[in-house]
Structures are given as structure tokens and as C-alpha cells.
Point group: C2
Chain length 101, copies 2
């Protein structure tokens, strides 16, 4: 099911509320690097995000090595070739909350 | 604590037993891409590997998007600048077993 891609002005508004995230892939994705005290904390975070991602059927692309988690969010069925939607904004905010920042 | 880096002949012997893995980073790491039916299966696999990794204090570098998990194994304290050790071989075999192949 297609999801509405955010307009440029919508994107700007919510990017201001997501200060730790940066635009990537020519505006079609957002990224944030999380750092935790150790692997236990990093994977604990990933597990909580995974449950949420599965519940909302909106999954991150992510890379983990030890205490670091590098996340990319995009909506594959937004716009013509994927893009940012309200689902990415919601997930980004949820991840910030779960990481405690 | 330093871990012994595998010699070239040791490496060749066990690479023959790890047919799904390929050498990377100029012989200092091995990589394998796993594919599962869906995110539930992929993250379930990651969770089982995470428990094992934490138990043995030997953690993978990995990237996940939906049903795919791309894994790199290396031993940071092997050799002068990191390299492959018996710990990577054990972890690779354990991951193959957990993935059912």
C-alpha cells in the first residue's frame, strides 16, 4: 500500500524536532548513529526497536558493531522510488525515546 | 588479551569447512550474507547470535534490513591490526548452525 511522501516543507518542520537525525540519500532517508555503554545496552535497544518495528510493519536498516548502532530510516513504498513519510518520523521519535535522548 | 591470529595454512583449512563464508579485508575478516523468510526470522536469528556473542565476548559486525543479515567477523585483538582467530571460526560455525545451514 502506497504511503504519502512528505512534502519538502513538512520534512523541514519535523526535521527541526529530530535534531539528532540527518537527511541522507538525497532527502529520501534519515540517519542517526546511537552509542551505548556496551553491547548489552546496544542490542537491548535494538530488541525494543525490533518489537516496535514488527508491530508497525516498518523496519529500519541498521548496522551494529559492539556498542554502536547506525540507523537509516526510509519508506520503500512512499513516492515513486521510496522516500520519507510520517512513518519514519514516528519511528525516529520512538527510537530517540527508547535510547533516552 | 591478545588472541593468536590464524596462520595462512590454518585459515585455508577451516575456510574449506565454512563454504558459505568469504574472506574480506585482505584476509583479516570473513563475511556471509544470511537471508530469512521475514524480519521476525532474521531478528530471531540475530537475538540468538547476540546471546552467544555476549557469552563468549566475541561480537559480530552486522547489517540488517528486513529479512537480510550481512555479517562480518574479525578478531580485533588478533595479530598487529586485527585478524582472524579461532574465535571467528567458532562463531561462524555457530551462526551457520543457528541459521540452519
Amino acid at each position: 500500500m502506497a504511503v504519502a511522501e512528505l512534502t519538502e516543507s513538512e520534512r523541514e518542520v519535523w526535521l527541526r524536532t529530530l535534531s539528532n537525525w540527518t537527511l541522507a540519500r538525497e532527502g529520501k532517508a534519515i540517519q542517526r548513529n546511537f552509542e551505548f555503554p556496551d553491547f548489552n545496552a546496544a542490542f537491548g535497544f535494538m530488541t525494543r526497536v525490533a518489537l516496535l518495528a514488527e508491530k508497525h510493519d516498518h523496519h529500519p536498516e541498521w548496522f551494529n558493531v559492539y556498542n554502536r548502532v547506525e540507523v537509516t530510516l526510509t519508506t520503500h513504498d512512499a513516492g515513486e522510488n521510496g522516500g520519507l513519510s510520517h512513518r519514519d518520523a514516528k519511528m525516529a521519535k520512538a527510537m530517540d525515546a527508547l535510547a533516552g535522548s
